[in-house]
Amino acid sequence: MVPLSYYLVLSGILFACGVTGFLIKRNIITIFMSIELMLNGVNLSFVAFAANWHALSGQVFVFFVMVVAAAEAAVGLAIIIAVYRTRETLNVDQVNLLKL
């Protein structure tokens, strides 16, 4: 059997990939996909822990996370379309009317 730590390391790597993508990518859609990758990393650790504790609840949580991620994607893409309509670009460096 594959030990728990392997899954946790993989989920950590997925999460870290998502964080890195979020920080270095410049296209809003790619940034959004990085967030989905982070959520999937979390899902993997939920499932791994559920198997470890023999608790089904951990697997059920993954469904909740997926549903919420889908709702978030629906709203997020609509917002991205609204941005594209006003600015005609999806590069975060050019979406800069508000100074940071």
Binding site: M38, F49, A78, A82, T86
Partner: protein
């Protein structure tokens, strides 16, 4: 989760989520009425339905408070703590709807779902304050966040509004992922996501390393949501671009709900290693917020930085001992909600069509042109400074005295110094309003009924808390007892 014995929920359990049910029903009514009504006249009717919904939620909360207890297999817990935050969220919702009435007409936004989304957001915030299960907290957090992402972009024709919406959305989802990873780690460490069970495991001595990681990650996620430094960078941008009444909403109600979640997680679950973490974040938020606000020229941005600073003051209470810290934090959320919703109500009225007048310059001479508006804004600003006889004074006083009782002298010194810095930029607004002549005549329309009511409620609450803080504090102390039991 001790299912099996009982398969269907009992009637009393529905009472324990009654405010949420009421808000959802009214939200759905608004969504269904919207397409059926004449677009030009629907705004007022739908707003009225929303207002009735928020008031009905207040009534439902009062009714619910007579049936404390756990419901839905240990998912929600109605105690005086959750009732306190339900009441706060529902009241803020009502006041914000009153403010939005006129704003939506002036900005010529014709969309009924605006009020529906406010109510749906309130559902999430209410649920957050009564949830005692981490996954339910996550779902409630998302219900409230997704609604506010949309609301932030409601001035669709203005490019800065959709930009603020997308920034809020991306950073908010980023934070949510961190929170969720924390939940997963906590689940891995304890085998449960119920706060009560986690509290038992962590309270029994042995603390797994994973639990520390889980708390830290959850704290990062929630820190983003309350705009605490170093997770605050999104705040000024989002607050500048979003519609002003919505800024008043999202800087108070969701924050209060997230603080409720933080209180539950940190104190009820006996979270390990919280002290130094909170110390650093509180000190950073106060300092960065106040220093950032010093150089702002846009009033909305100024209030955004001030809200970062206030998140810092509030976190000071979290570092204190639970018995004093929890009531102090609860008192702070109420008085902050009253003064901030009020301040943004004034800003939203004064901003006029297209939110043109939001810089410091436009406020020059307001004291002469609209004495009443200037006077109410002055009350809120004095309260934000923490001048005696306003709610802000006692809020700061209780927080700092709770911190002193926990021997956090360093943190209190940083806090008091910051309050002095903060006084400068709030007073600057007041000085500009009363002492400086306007260069160009900025029109001020008379105060409409809805806004007047909203301002009256906020101002009355601010002063009430400053003159007679006893009852609220006493209730908060009792709630803290409920939470710690």
């Amino acid at each position: 989760m001790n299912g099996g014995a009982q398969v269907t929920p009992q009637a009393v359990e529905y009472i324990r989520i009654l405010p949420e049910i009421v808000l959802t029903i009214f939200g759905i009514i608004i969504m269904m009425l919207d397409p059926l009504m004449d677009e030009r006249r629907s705004q007022r009717t739908l707003g009225a339905v929303g207002l009735v919904g928020a008031l009905a939620a207040i009534v439902a909360t009062l009714y619910q408070s007579q049936y404390p207890g756990v419901g839905f297999w240990g998912m929600v817990n109605v105690d005086s703590f959750s009732v306190f935050f339900h009441f706060l969220v529902a009241t803020v919702t009502a006041v914000v709807i009153l403010t939005s009435y006129e704003y939506m007409e002036v900005q010529q936004i014709r969309a009924g779902e605006y009020y529906g989304l406010i109510l749906f957001g309130a559902v999430g915030m209410c649920l957050m304050s009564s949830a005692v299960e981490l996954v339910l907290i996550f779902i409630a957090l998302e219900i409230s966040s997704i609604s506010t992402y949309i609301l932030a972009g409601f001035r669709r024709r203005a490019a800065i509004s959709s930009e603020s919406s997308v920034k809020y959305f991306l950073l908010g989802s980023f934070a949510t992922a961190f929170f969720l990873y924390g939940v997963a780690m906590m689940f891995g460490a304890t085998g449960s996501t119920s706060i009560a069970v986690i509290g038992q495991v962590l309270g029994s001595g042995q603390t797994p390393v994973l639990a520390y990681v889980g708390i830290a990650l959850m704290f990062v996620g929630l820190g983003f949501k309350v705009a605490a430094a170093p997770f605050h960078v999104w705040t000024p941008d989002v607050y500048e671009g979003a519609p002003a009444p919505i800024v008043g909403f999202m800087s108070t109600a969701p924050k209060a709900a997230v603080f409720a979640v933080l209180l539950r997680i940190l104190f009820e679950a006996h979270a390990p290693g919280r002290l130094w973490l909170i110390w650093v974040v509180a000190a950073l938020s106060m300092t960065l917020g106040n220093i950032g606000a010093l150089v702002q020229d846009n009033v909305k941005r100024l209030l955004a930085y001030s809200s970062i600073a206030h998140a810092g003051y509030l976190l000071v209470a979290f570092a204190a001992l639970p018995a004093n810290g929890i009531p102090a934090a609860m008192f702070y959320t109420v008085s902050y909600a009253a003064m901030n919703v009020g301040a943004f109500a004034v800003v939203s009225h004064f901003a006029s069509a297209g939110e043109r007048y939001v810089t410091m310059e436009d406020y020059a001479g307001l004291g002469r042109r609209s004495p009443l508006l200037a006077a109410t804004l002055t009350i809120f600003l004095l309260s934000l400074i923490g001048i005696p006889a306003t709610g802000g004074f006692f809020a700061k006083f209780y927080v700092f005295s709770a911190a002193l009782q926990a021997n956090l002298v360093g943190l209190v010194i940083i806090g008091v110094l910051n309050s002095a810095v903060g006084a400068y930029y709030y007073l600057r607004v007041i000085v500009v309003m009363y002492m400086r002549e306007a260069r160009q005549e900025v029109p001020v329309s008379p105060i409409p009924l809805g806004l007047g009511a909203a301002l009256a409620i906020s101002a009355a609450t601010t002063i009430y808390l400053g003159v007679l803080p006893g009852r609220v504090l006493e209730y908060a102390t009792r709630s803290a007892g409920d939470l710690l039991r």
